[in-house]
């Protein structure tokens, strides 16, 4: 069989499987439903739900997606993603406007935001260059140590990072005459960036760079033998992951209108890991599912705990237990549990064969 025959055969099989549908018809029904609900959400949801629940979900989801990209495609579990987000947030506060006008430069937003992202990418590249010298669990420990170092540094440094207080009154720019901190504009802004992040992460799983990265994850030696520069791919993955993390960090700063060392401390860094792992590292949707659950828990756990007759302070216990249970029973978070359930439903309980 010649190569041409072979490719023709593959093309034919792909076409027959898809029934020669248009690309728009190939989008699964679930996407349409979720997309539609998200678009019309403001018509029935309250401002609190839009701003606090969904705005925060999208932001945390983006930061968790950057971790999912590194860990799921690249096999590098990094705890420094919140640090990247924090760097971007700090840069926006330092170069843009804030109440601390002795440090903040007050430059226009179209300089500040790209500059903040650029600095974040450079920072992530440097961290990545350091972190890829190690593998597996070592990477977790080193990025944890880096996150801690950045936290302590921002807390001690008063010249640039304004120490313990950090920066407050960091507002988004008034673009097109809209106050982007209002719940409705903020909801759509975060939704847009979250969707872009999601689609790019999805696209990258099949793009040459993403495929090479997955190859590096599965067998670095073989990829090196094939002529791929393993280290460069890994460092590039860190640099790339800084973009959604940085965007998320900037919007996180705008949402709470402040940034301080508490934003980048060890607890939030571990929270991002919890979000990504509980959701599942196999698919970008896991990051957003995890973020949604986390935000729901963080917002309503206190009420639930009080209703159960426990003190509201035990909310960290609830999150920890939930995380522990999910990790203990599943090797890929909620997505893993979902797959298992689907597989067992499709299987005949008597013969163990797949049902049609």
């Amino acid at each position: 069989m010649t190569m041409e025959d072979f490719t023709r055969k593959i093309d034919a099989s792909i076409a027959s499987r898809q029934g020669k549908k248009m690309w728009i018809e190939r989008i699964p029904a679930g996407y349409w439903i979720v997309g539609f609900i998200l678009l019309i959400m403001p018509s029935f949801a309250s401002d609190f739900v839009l701003f606090q629940i969904f705005g925060w979900t999208f932001i945390l989801g983006m930061i968790a997606t950057s971790l999912m990209f590194l860990a799921g495609y690249g096999g590098m579990v990094s705890l420094a993603q919140m640090t990247f987000a924090g760097v971007a947030g700090y840069m926006v506060a330092i170069f843009g406007d804030s109440a601390i006008d002795t440090i903040s430069q007050g430059w226009p937003w179209w300089v500040v935001v790209p500059l903040a992202l650029l600095i974040t990418i450079l920072f992530a590249t440097a961290i990545g260059w350091l972190a890829v010298r190690t593998e597996g669990i070592y990477t977790i420990m080193i990025t944890l140590a880096i996150a801690a170092a950045f936290f302590y540094f921002t807390r001690q440094n008063y010249d640039i990072f304004n120490g313990f207080q950090g920066f407050n009154s960091v507002f988004p720019p008034r673009l097109f005459g809209v106050n982007w901190r209002q719940p409705l504009p903020f909801y759509y802004m975060t939704l847009m960036w979250a969707v872009i992040t999601f689609l790019v992460a999805l696209y990258l799983s099949r793009a040459p760079f993403g495929l090479a990265l997955q190859g590096v994850r599965d067998n670095p030696r073989r990829m090196a033998a094939l002529g791929f520069n393993v280290t460069a791919h890994r460092v590039a993955a860190y640099a790339f992951s800084a973009i959604p993390a940085g965007l998320g960090g900037i919007m996180l700063t705008w949402q709470s209108a402040q940034i301080s060392p508490g934003t980048v401390s060890i607890q939030p860094a571990i929270d991002i890991l919890i979000i990504a792992v509980v959701g599942g590292l196999r698919h970008p949707v896991g990051a957003f599912v995890g973020a949604f659950l986390y935000v729901l828990l963080k917002t309503f756990a206190v009420d639930v705990l009080i209703a159960l007759g426990l003190s509201g302070d035990r909310f960290q216990l609830l999150i920890g237990l939930g995380f522990l249970i999910v990790v203990y029973i599943s090797d890929d978070g909620l997505l893993g549990i979902w797959e298992k359930l689907r597989a067992s439903r499709n299987r005949d309980p008597l013969t163990g064969e797949r049902r049609g």
């Binding site: 350091l130 010298r133 420990m141 801690a148 060890i266 960290q316 216990l317």
Partner: protein, 339 residues
């Protein structure tokens, strides 16, 4: 050592010079210009001694961590929680019974047994899945930290050492020598807290004992063989699971022991678990994962860096520690004494 000096003559020279300078700084009476340049000798000696004794504490915490990692490739991120729990247990035992020394074995055994439970229910069930083990231990540390906050509150618990250990000890190191107007020479000697010196001596003794057990006994031989090739060891008929449980008991117990020491040195309070987890991470990364002498060297370096940093550049003391880690990683990723 001779091997090292033959292979790296320049580095051996640098190390020898550093040791000589250090000895001079410790024993000589400082001339005026030196005191003007970097402060009084008393401050320097205190920072040096504090650094060394803190290094002893870090060694106790990190050696258990590195032992467990070296044998089983388990990264136990709940190690800091075990440390803090040991501190609380030690406080209550010392408080109820009135015997400070009793706190050590009780804490060692209880925390060690907890470690055995973790080994059986978590690590053995997930053998070979590094990432999942790490994640589960993160979950455990979150839960345990919150349970301890629930049980013990946010207060600082400080174990007071018995009377025969409290108070300063006279050393024969001269901190300053002044000539009074009357012509009489006044010499002041360094006074140092007794309890710190005793605890440091104890941690050195534990370290040496560990080294001896690992290198001179049959059990140590089993452990070392397990570090090198786990599968081959179990194929020879050694009961590897028993060795694992034993090492986990000992490693976790050391964390509990260190907790009692830490609660006497400083105090047991929420947040200390993360602090000591990070410290032991940095120590084993600098020293080399799985190496006991590496843990000792790393602990000494980090303890000294922290104390000298907080005396001479207080703003960036913590950052200095991480800077050491970054430099080691950049030039020797396997750690100073790692293989």
């Amino acid at each position: 050592m001779r091997e090292f000096s033959r292979r790296h003559p320049v580095w051996a020279g640098v190390v020898a010079l550093a040791v000589l300078i250090l000895l001079y700084l410790i024993f000589a009476i400082w001339p005026e210009w030196l005191s003007d340049a970097i402060g009084s000798k008393k401050i320097f000696l205190n920072a040096l001694f504090n650094g060394i004794t803190l290094g002893g504490l870090y060694f106790l915490v990190a050696s258990g961590f590195t032992l467990i990692f070296g044998l089983m490739r388990n990264v136990n991120l709940a190690h800091g929680s075990l440390y803090l729990l040991g501190g609380y247990i030690g406080f209550f035992v010392a408080d109820w019974t009135g015997f400070w020394l009793l706190a050590f074995p009780v804490s060692f055994i209880i925390v060690g047994l907890l470690g055995v439970l973790m080994q059986i229910f978590v690590f053995r069930r997930m053998e070979g899945q590094d990432l999942r083990q790490t994640l589960v231990t993160i979950g455990i540390s979150i839960v345990v930290a919150d349970l301890m906050l629930w049980g013990f509150g946010g207060d600082f618990y400080n174990i007071s050492p018995p009377s025969w250990l409290s108070g300063p000890m006279e050393t024969n190191l001269i901190t300053s020598q002044r000539v009074r107007n009357s012509g009489e020479v006044v010499t002041t000697y360094l006074k140092y807290p007794m309890v710190r010196i005793v605890i440091f001596a104890a941690s050195v003794a534990i370290g040496v004992a560990m080294w001896l057990v690992l290198n001179r006994t049959r059990i140590g031989m089993l452990v070392r063989a397990g570090v090198d090739d786990r599968d081959m060891l179990s194929a020879t008929g050694a009961r590897i699971q028993l060795v694992f449980v034993g090492v986990f008991f000992f490693g976790a117990g050391l964390a509990g022991l260190a907790g009692v020491v830490g609660a006497t040195f400083q105090s047991a309070a929420p947040g200390e678990d993360v602090r000591f987890l990070l410290a032991s991470l940095v120590v084993v990364i600098v020293g080399g994962m799985g190496s006991i002498p590496g843990a000792a060297l790393g602990a000494l370096l980090i303890g000294l860096a922290e104390q000298f940093g907080s005396v001479y550049f207080p703003t960036y003391a913590v950052v200095l520690t991480f800077l050491i880690m970054v430099v080691v990683l950049a030039f020797r990723p396997q750690g100073l004494l790692g293989r």
